[in-house]
C-alpha cells in the first residue's frame, strides 16, 4: 500500500481503536459494577483487565491518529466514490473473487454437499480461474487433491469430515460418499 494511503488507513484505524476502546471500557464498567455489587474486590472483576487493555488501546489509537495526520494522511479515501473505485479496480475484483469462492465453499457447498464433492467443486473453480488450463487437466488435479485430503483426514486420521454425507443405494449395496 502506498505510504499516503497507509497513513490515511492509520487515521481510520486510530479512530476505530478509540471508539472500540470506549465501548470496551463501558462494557467493562458494567461488568465491574455487577461483580463488586456482590461484595467482590474490584481487581477480581472480569472487566478489570479488558479495561486496562482498552485504556492502552485508546492511547495508542490517538497516537496512531496523530502519526497518520502528521504524515499527510486524510480520511477522503472513505468517500463512496473512492471506495467504489478501489473495489472496481482489477485488484479489488480479484480479492472479492477469492473471498467469494472461499465463502461459497465454507457457507454453501459444505452445508449441502458431501465434503469430497464440495472440495472438488471448490478446487476446480478456484484452480480454473487462477491457473487457466484445460478443463480436464484442472478436473483431474481437483479430483486428485480432493480424494487425497478426504482419505488422509477422513479415513487415516478418522476425523468426521464437514459437509453432508451422501448415502447411495446401488443394487442392494449401500455406499456412503464422505
Amino acid at each position: 500500500m502506498e505510504l499516503k494511503n497507509l497513513r490515511s488507513a492509520d487515521m481510520l484505524t486510530g479512530i476505530i481503536l478509540a471508539l472500540g476502546s470506549l465501548a470496551v471500557l463501558y462494557d467493562s464498567y458494567k461488568m465491574t459494577v455487577a461483580v463488586t455489587a456482590r461484595g467482590n474486590p474490584l481487581v477480581s472483576s472480569p472487566g478489570f483487565v479488558p479495561a486496562v487493555i482498552a485504556v492502552f488501546m485508546l492511547i495508542l489509537g490517538f497516537v496512531l491518529l496523530r502519526a497518520g495526520q502528521k504524515s499527510g494522511g486524510s480520511l477522503t479515501f472513505l468517500l463512496p466514490s473512492r471506495l467504489a473505485a478501489g473495489l472496481a479496480s482489477a485488484e479489488g475484483r480479484n480479492v472479492i473473487t477469492i473471498l467469494g469462492i472461499i465463502a461459497g465453499y465454507i457457507f454453501i457447498l459444505l452445508k449441502f454437499l458431501p465434503y469430497s464433492i464440495a472440495t472438488f467443486i471448490f478446487l476446480y473453480a478456484f484452480i480454473l480461474f487462477y491457473y487457466q488450463r484445460r478443463h480436464l487437466r484442472v478436473a483431474l488435479i481437483a479430483a486428485g487433491v480432493s480424494l487425497v485430503i478426504t482419505v488422509a483426514f477422513g479415513e487415516l486420521a478418522s476425523i468426521p469430515l464437514p459437509g453432508k454425507s451422501l448415502i447411495l443405494y446401488l443394487g442392494g449395496v449401500t455406499v456412503e460418499i464422505p
Binding site: 474490584l42 477480581s44 472480569p46 495508542l60 496512531l64 480479492v95 473471498l99 465454507i106 487462477y130 491457473y131
Partner: protein
C-alpha cells in the same frame, strides 16, 4: 551414574529393536507432515495418536508420541519457510527470515539450517532434561502469578516489537488486540460472559487454530493471487544447497547455546510453551548478532535461533511434567494424559515408582532427534519442490488444507466462520502493515495475562508491590521498560535523521 547407565542401556535397546525403529521413523515423518500442514499442530498430533496407542506397550506408545512431538515442532518451520504460513504457532518467528530466504531462492538452505537447528536444540534440551532437572525445577517453582504475568506481557511486547513492519506501535496494537481477543468468552473467576455478543459459540472463546490459520493463510493466498490469473503463474526458482552451512553453525555456537538456555527455561515454565521460547530466542539473536539489523530480510541466524529455541523447549517442557506433573507446554499437557493412560504417574514420586522412567524417556527423545535428522533429509527435497508448483494450483490447495485444518481440531463448523472472519480481518490488517504473529501470541497468552494479573492483585490486596519487589519481576520489568523506551527512542532518532536527510536537499 546409574541414570547414565540406564540411558545408554535404553538407547541400545531402542536402536536394536526393529519395531521401535520402524515406529519412530513413521512417527517422525508423520510428525513433520503434521507440523507442516497449517492447522495440524503438535498438540493435535499427540492428541489424535494417544487414543491409537492405547493398545500398544508403554515404550512403543512413547516412541510414537515423542516422534510426532519432535517432528511436528520442526515441521511447522517448513510451511513457514516455503509458504509464509507457519504450520504451528511456534514457527511464526521462523517465518520472518525463513520465508525471506525462500524468496531469495535459498529455501533449501533455510530448511537445512532449521533442521540442523532443531536437531541441535532438541539434543541440548534432552541433555538439560537428563542433568539439570532439579535446578530448573527449583527456578521454575519461584515463579508466582506476578512473574507469569510479566513474562506473558514481555512475550507479547517482544513479538510485537520485532514483527512490526511499519510503525513499532502497530506491533503493540496487534499484541493488545490479540490479548483482547483472549478475553472473549466465559471468564474464569465469576463465570461472566465477556464480549460474546450473545453468541453461544463464543462462550468458549475464540478458537486459536482457526484464528491463526485465518490470520496467516488468507493474506498469503490473496497476496499470491490478487493480480489475477496472469500473475499467478509465478514459480519461485530454488537451487540446491550450494555449499556446506556447517561453518554458519560453528560461527553461531554462542547463539545456539543462548537460544537453548532460553528455550529450556521457558519450556520449563508451566503453560508457557514453545511459542514464547521461539520469539524470545529470535529477539535475543536480533539483539546480540552482528547482523541483527538485517533480521527480517532473510538472514540464516534469524531462522536458526527460533528453531533452536522451540525445539529445546521440548526438553524443557518435560522437566516440570516429570518432576511436578505440571506440563510445560500444550503438547506436554496432552503427553501427560498419555502417560497417565499407560499407568505412569509423573510427579515427585516418579523416581521411586518408576526409577528408570526419566532415563527411558530421555533415550526415546534422543532417538526422536536422530530420526528427525534422517526423516528431515528425506522429506526436505520433495517439500522444496512445493515451491515449483504454480501459485494458481498451490494456493487453492493451501486454502482447502487450511479449511479442513481449522475444522479438524474441534469438529465445529463455527470454527470455519471464525477462519473466514479472521482471514478477512487478517488480510486487511496485513495490508495496513500489521503482523499476525503478535495477535496470535496475544491470543495464546491473553488468558495467562488476565488470570495472573488478577490473581496477583487479589493476593496482594490490590497492590502492585510484588511487581517491584520480587527479583525476577524486577528483571522482567526492566526488560519491558528497556524494550519500550528503546523502541520509542530509536524511532525518534530515525525520524530525526529522516528529517535531516529530507531538509538537507533543500
Amino acid at each position: 551414574m546409574e541414570g547414565l547407565t540406564a540411558f545408554f542401556s535404553f538407547t541400545a535397546q531402542l536402536f536394536t529393536n526393529p519395531t521401535a525403529v520402524a515406529l519412530m521413523a513413521a512417527a517422525s515423518a508423520l510428525g513433520i507432515v503434521i507440523g507442516a500442514l497449517p492447522g495440524l499442530t503438535a498438540t493435535m498430533g499427540i492428541a489424535l495418536l494417544t487414543g491409537l496407542t492405547y493398545g500398544v506397550s508403554k515404550t512403543y506408545a512413547l516412541v510414537i508420541l515423542m516422534g510426532v512431538y519432535v517432528g511436528a515442532i520442526y515441521g511447522g518451520s517448513m510451511s513457514a519457510i516455503l509458504l509464509n504460513v507457519p504450520g504451528t504457532p511456534s514457527a511464526a518467528a521462523t517465518a520472518l527470515d525463513g520465508h525471506k530466504m525462500a524468496l531469495k531462492g535459498l529455501a533449501a538452505e533455510a530448511i537445512w539450517a532449521t533442521r540442523t537447528a532443531s536437531i541441535i536444540g532438541t539434543f541440548l534440551g534432552l541433555i538439560c532434561l537428563a542433568f539439570f532437572t532439579p535446578i530448573i525445577t527449583k527456578l521454575a517453582l519461584n515463579f508466582t502469578s506476578a512473574e507469569f504475568f510479566l513474562l506473558a506481557v514481555f512475550g507479547v511486547l517482544i513479538c510485537g516489537t520485532i514483527s512490526a513492519r511499519d510503525l513499532p506501535i502497530k506491533g503493540w496494537i496487534a499484541g493488545l488486540f490479540g490479548v483482547f481477543l483472549a478475553m472473549i468468552g466465559i471468564e474464569d473467576i465469576h463465570a461472566v460472559h465477556r464480549f460474546t455478543l450473545g453468541m453461544m459459540d463464543l462462550t468458549t472463546g475464540i478458537p486459536l487454530i482457526p484464528a491463526m490459520i485465518g490470520f496467516f493463510a488468507f493474506p498469503q493466498i490473496i497476496k499470491a493471487l490478487k493480480h489475477g490469473p496472469a500473475g499467478s503463474m509465478k514459480v519461485l526458482e530454488q537451487g540446491e544447497v550450494k555449499e556446506s552451512l556447517w561453518p554458519v553453525i560453528k560461527r553461531n555456537i554462542g547463539l545456539i547455546l543462548r537460544s537453548t538456555g532460553i528455550g529450556v527455561f521457558i519450556g520449563a515454565l508451566p503453560g508457557v510453551g514453545e511459542d514464547v521460547a521461539a520469539w524470545l530466542s529470535y529477539d535475543n539473536a536480533k539483539r546480540t548478532c552482528k547482523n541483527g539489523k538485517d533480521f527480517g530480510t532473510g538472514v540464516v541466524e534469524g531462522a536458526i535461533a527460533p528453531e533452536v529455541g522451540n525445539n529445546s523447549a521440548i526438553g524443557g517442557a518435560l522437566i516440570p511434567l516429570l518432576s511436578l506433573a505440571v506440563p510445560g507446554s500444550p503438547p506436554a499437557a496432552v503427553l501427560l494424559g498419555a502417560l497417565l493412560l499407560h499407568g505412569i504417574r509423573p510427579g515427585p514420586m516418579l523416581s521411586q515408582e518408576f526409577p528408570t522412567f526419566t532415563a527411558e524417556l530421555t533415550a526415546i527423545l534422543f532417538m526422536a532427534t536422530v530420526f528427525l535428522w534422517v526423516c528431515g533429509i528425506i522429506i526436505a527435497r520433495p517439500m522444496t519442490q512445493i515451491l515449483k508448483i504454480p501459485q494458481g494450483i498451490l494456493m487453492p490447495v493451501v486454502a482447502a488444507l487450511s479449511i479442513i485444518g481449522a475444522y479438524a481440531l474441534n469438529l465445529n463448523t463455527f470454527d470455519l466462520a471464525i477462519l473466514f472472519v479472521f482471514g478477512v480481518v487478517g488480510w486487511v490488517l496485513d495490508e495496513m502493515g500489521y503482523s499476525a504473529a503478535p495477535i496470535i501470541l496475544g491470543l495464546i497468552l491473553g488468558g495467562m495475562i488476565d488470570a495472573n494479573m488478577r490473581r496477583m492483585l487479589m493476593l496482594s490486596g490490590g497492590s502492585l508491590e510484588p511487581l517491584v519487589t520480587r527479583p525476577i519481576c524486577i528483571v522482567l520489568l526492566i526488560l519491558i521498560l528497556w524494550v519500550v523506551i528503546g523502541t520509542l527512542v530509536s524511532g525518534r532518532i530515525a525520524a530525526k535523521f529522516k528529517d535531516i536527510a529530507t531538509h538537507s536537499g533543500d
